[in-house]
């Protein structure tokens, strides 16, 4: 048997110049987790400031810079690349029975482009910070004296990285599937990544262009969105949300893909409907392009437009509900093992359903006028994007840990930290729903006395969440070194990545496999499943 991918070959150089999708996935893992920690620190500064009604630890200008950094880092440095670039990179080719992605060097380039984008974005922090919020709304963003230029250039570069990865995933899914791997046999995580890649490919360039128009104004005033020159700032919002609303699905779709794998593996059962989930993924990706207007109900939009955008937004809820019911139905009469990833699935289910339903609520114009720009919206999008992405990122981190590192984490600590993450998350954001409904606007560094106790709860929750996240990370780091050795398929999964040896070799399969079964054939024994997914 050939040497595993972690050890062959050795040396720092062999890592930095690797074209192995698994190693690139791990390198993304490191930088993405660092981004999560950094974005988390800024979140804690925000919550510390909001601990008391008056000024607490920072002034108003610093507060604006903090929430901007928090948003920019969490959206573009963590959530968008998190699951696709780490876990997608690692398992997508293995799931398809391929030796690597179609363009391994492009994949490595995507990593370094990401790093460059991250450095430039963080350069804005050194250059004094940006105070526009992560949305860079014109005309404020084109006139503020803070460091907008490095921030938007950084985000542009990060977009290039997204596009490179998207091209790689789509091409790989089309051209690199092993013999016998028909489209109906492709694991649902791959379908989710495929849908995500379509959005990345088609939406990201529009964002890149739009924020470059903002950036250009800091060098020479083109003023495309400047009313003084005849421009219309609302057009910025249209173009921005044309990307940034689908971007929510860039975060959610891979999360749903992970969840599908987790539910099937730990219920030891095929999904209640394969097609329902696959088609819903593509449905969300398609409809997601037609909902951006719901961010602008109060920005000057006709009632008809608002109604159409609202109704289209609710279609997303239909596809999401189909998935939710399919996951729940999958558990029905399954043989459920209660491991950490499964627990994260339950948290995900709660956050996703609750966040999704409040999403339908804010997509209704009459309600949105009341909730717009309040903490209700903040709580809603944290539930749906952060709650779902973060719990799923952690589910994936635990689920694929034995395949990535060949060891088992401590299940007891895993379950415990998982509960801590949920408790912290719940405590942070449920009060924010109430605050928003009571009228507290977002992006203020002080607030009236009557909002105090809910803010204290929310801040306390944020620190609990941070503590649990750090413990979860420590648990995994400890397992890297001291965890029990895992077998090749510790969860008894039937998915193809678990059919490889404990640590896959660089080329994944010594001989290209021939697939003669579906990815969720739990009626087969482990040996049969392995036999029907290997070379004849």
């Amino acid at each position: 048997m050939s040497t595993d991918y972690l050890r062959a070959p050795r040396g720092v150089r062999s890592w930095l110049l690797t074209t192995d999708h698994k190693r690139i996935g791990l390198m993304f893992y490191v930088v993405v987790v660092m981004s999560l920690l950094l974005g988390g620190v800024f979140a804690l500064v925000i919550r510390a400031e909001l601990f008391t009604p008056g000024p607490t630890v920072i002034g108003p200008d610093m507060y604006n810079r903090m929430f901007t950094l928090h948003g920019v880092i969490m959206v573009w440095l963590f959530m968008i690349p998190s699951i696709p670039n780490v876990f997608g990179n690692f398992v997508l080719p293995i799931m398809l029975g391929a030796k690597d992605l179609a363009f391994p060097r492009l994949n490595l380039a995507s990593f370094y482009v990401y790093c460059a984008g991250a450095l430039v974005t963080l350069g804005a922090m050194i250059a004094g910070g940006t105070d526009t919020g992560w949305t860079f709304y014109a005309p404020f963003s084109t006139s503020t004296p803070t460091a907008v230029l490095p921030a938007v250039i950084g985000v542009f570069i990060l977009g290039v990285s997204s596009i490179l990865t998207a091209i790689n995933f789509i091409v790989t899914t089309h051209t690199m599937r092993a013999r016998g791997m028909s489209l109906r046999r492709v694991p649902l995580f791959v379908w989710a990544l495929y849908a995500t890649s379509l959005i990345m490919l088609l939406a990201t360039p529009v964002l890149g262009l739009t924020i470059m128009l903002v950036g250009i104004d800091h060098i020479y005033h083109f003023g495309v969105f400047d009313p003084a020159l005849g421009g219309d700032p609302v057009l910025f919002q249209h173009l921005f949300w044309f990307y940034s609303h689908p971007a929510v699905y860039i975060m959610i779709l891979p999360a749903q893909g992970v969840i599908t794998e987790v539910v099937c593996t730990f219920s030891h059962k095929q999904p209640a409907s394969y097609m329902a989930i696959a088609i819903s993924s593509l449905g969300i990706a398609t409809i997601g392009f037609l909902t951006w207007g719901h961010h602008m109900f109060v920005a000057g939009m006709s009632e008809l437009d608002a109604g159409v955008f609202g109704a289209l937004s609710m279609f997303v809820a239909i596809f999401s509900a189909i998935k939710v019911f399919t996951w729940v139905a999958t558990m029905h009469r399954g043989s459920i093992s209660f491991n950490t990833p499964m627990l994260y699935f339950f948290w995900f289910l709660f956050l996703f359903v609750f966040g999704g339903m409040t999403g339908v609520a804010v997509a209704t114009q009459s309600l949105d006028v009341h909730w717009h720009d309040t903490y209700f919206v903040v709580a809603h999008f944290h539930f749906i994007m952060v709650g779902s992405t973060l719990t799923t990122f952690l589910a994936a981190a635990h689920y694929w840990f034995p395949k990535m590192f060949g060891r088992l984490y401590s299940e007891r600590m895993g379950l415990l930290t998982s509960a801590g993450v949920f408790a912290g998350f719940f405590l942070t954001f449920v009060p924010q729903f109430l605050l928003g409904n009571a009228g507290m606007p977002r992006r203020y560094y002080t607030y009236p006395e009557r909002y105090a106790w809910l803010n204290v709860l929310s801040s306390g929750g944020a620190f609990l969440l941070a503590g649990a996240l750090v413990l979860a990370l420590v648990n995994l780091l400890v397992a890297l070194r001291w965890g029990k050795l895992a077998s090749g398929n510790p969860w008894g999964s039937r998915s193809f990545e678990w059919m490889t040896p404990r640590l896959p070799p660089k080329e994944n399969f010594p001989v290209t496999p021939e697939i003669r079964r579906g990815p969720y054939d739990y009626h087969l024994t482990n040996e049969e499943a392995r036999e029907r997914a290997s070379a004849r």
């Binding site: 080719p93 391929a98 030796k99 690597d100 992605l101 179609a102 363009f103 391994p104 492009l106 596009i163 998207a166 091209i167 790689n168 789509i170 091409v171 790989t172 089309h174 051209t175 690199m176 490919l201 088609l202 939406a203 990201t204 360039p205 529009v206 890149g208 262009l209 739009t210 128009l213 104004d217 020479y220 005033h221 083109f222 003023g223 495309v224 400047d226 020159l229 005849g230 421009g231 219309d232 057009l235 249209h238 173009l239 044309f242 080329e507 290209t512």
Partner: protein
């Protein structure tokens, strides 16, 4: 010596070529959306300022715009012929055709420069620098700002395409490509056709569309 290299992740050259072509098409799709944002802005502002846009379009030189269209279409023809030539195993001819395409690209940029210079003399500058007394309205200045953005972004693509074609031309002349090893020339050609197609839409929007 002319056989293309099979990368280790592929089983055969056919699949490898198929993957590369699909990747290029996806990239071109992504590029279209990049221009799409600017086209959307053009549409929105034209709807807001129909009369001013029409007047501003009329001010642009149809002669230069149309000549440039012909130049660019001809360059696409020579690129297409070069792909045919390399497939017919005549790489030197392909190299000369590609060099001609690069030359036509340079002619295009030179004409663009002449046009920009005339605009600058009139005081037609983008954004806040706009000083053109004949067309004073805000709508006209927005048109010219978008004109600079659209043609500027397009010129960047022309420059990138010329670099690419120049490199391919050099490769052809040195005999690096031949029949059976023509994929790179084909992909470079695809990119150049994108540059051409975008211009086919810019030409009416910026030079012809006035009543």
């Amino acid at each position: 010596m002319n056989a293309p290299r099979l990368a280790e992740q592929f089983e055969d050259l056919a699949k490898q070529g198929q993957a590369a072509r699909l990747g290029m098409w996806l990239f071109l799709g992504s590029e279209l959306l990049l221009f799409g944002g600017l086209f959307a802005l053009y549409a929105a502002y034209r709807a807001m300022y129909p009369a001013e846009f029409a007047e501003a379009v009329a001010h642009n030189s149809v002669a230069i715009g149309t000549t440039n269209t012909l130049v660019l279409i001809t360059s696409s023809l020579t690129v297409a012929m070069s792909v045919g030539a390399v497939r017919a195993d005549r790489p030197r001819r392909a190299g000369r055709l590609l060099a001609l395409s690069v030359l036509l690209g340079a002619v295009f940029l030179a004409l663009k420069g002449v046009e920009y210079a005339a605009h600058f003399r009139d005081g037609i500058l983008p954004g806040e620098g706009y000083r053109f007394a004949e067309l004073p309205a805000a709508g006209a200045s927005l048109f010219f700002t978008l004109y600079y953005l659209l043609t500027g972004l397009h010129a960047l693509h022309v420059t990138a395409g010329m670099t690419l074609l120049g490199w391919l031309s050099w490769g052809c002349l040195r005999g690096r490509y031949a029949a059976g090893n023509d994929l790179h020339v084909e992909l470079g050609g695809l990119y150049w056709h994108l540059v051409d197609i975008v211009w086919i839409f810019l030409w009416p929007l910026l030079y012809l569309a006035h009543p």
